[in-house]
Amino acid sequence: AQSVSQHNHHVILSEAASLELGCNYSYGGTVNLFWYVQYPGQHLQLLLKYFSGDPLVKGIKGFEAEFIKSKFSFNLRKPSVQWSDTAEYFCAVNERSRGRRALTFGSGTRLQVQP
């Protein structure tokens, strides 16, 4: 069964610092990759996704992620974080070849941005 690993459980940064959150998945087949974000008191929402093509994808609010197939990784980055980026971030994957839509999520990374 596929799994998703997020190694950073809690990250604390100051505003304007750069962010990189790690995500690795275990499945060896063709996958779709996602980052979801959950702001305090809000529902999970899509930040960005990768299906195919350019491995560097851009999402909302200045976030981007790079798919590195050889490393089974899909790390999330942002050059300069803001206090409003304080949230929990989840990496997720589904298996394209099986047509599965249900996502397998990582355990999440809590980001705390200090003003």
Binding site: V4, F51, N94, R101, A102
Partner: protein, 116 residues
């Protein structure tokens, strides 16, 4: 903006009692998912429906959990009897039909269950 509706938002119950959660997906979304999110962990799929049919319930503890989507629209997730370990957030999500699939799942705000 269309949203996935869930109720109740919060539920406190004693162990061995029955609990039910309701979800109304975005209108026209054929696929509906129930996830469970234990504190400090990511969401885990319990059951997936395509219209009124169950596509995947391999992770649903069927001895105590049941889910239905009788008319292919709204859905109910039931736990009977509730156990202490069931304390979690229960999330409902939906996605459009195959031809309109963009990869995005649309989540509701969840139902937080506390079992005492």
């Amino acid at each position: 903006e269309a949203e996935v509706a869930q109720s109740p938002r919060y539920k406190i119950t004693e162990k061995s009692q029955a609990v039910a959660f309701w979800c109304d997906p975005i209108s026209g979304h054929a696929t509906l998912y129930w996830y469970r999110q234990i504190l400090g962990q990511g969401p885990e799929l319990l059951v997936q429906f395509q219209d009124e049919s169950v596509v995947d319930d391999s992770q649903l503890p069927k001895d105590r959990f049941s889910a239905e989507r009788l008319k292919g629209v709204d859905s109910t997730l039931k736990i009977q009897p509730a156990e202490l370990g069931d304390s979690a957030m229960y999330l409902c999500a939906s996605s459009p039909r195959q031809g309109e699939y963009t990869g995005e799942l649309f989540f509701g705000e969840g139902s937080r269950l506390t079992v005492l």
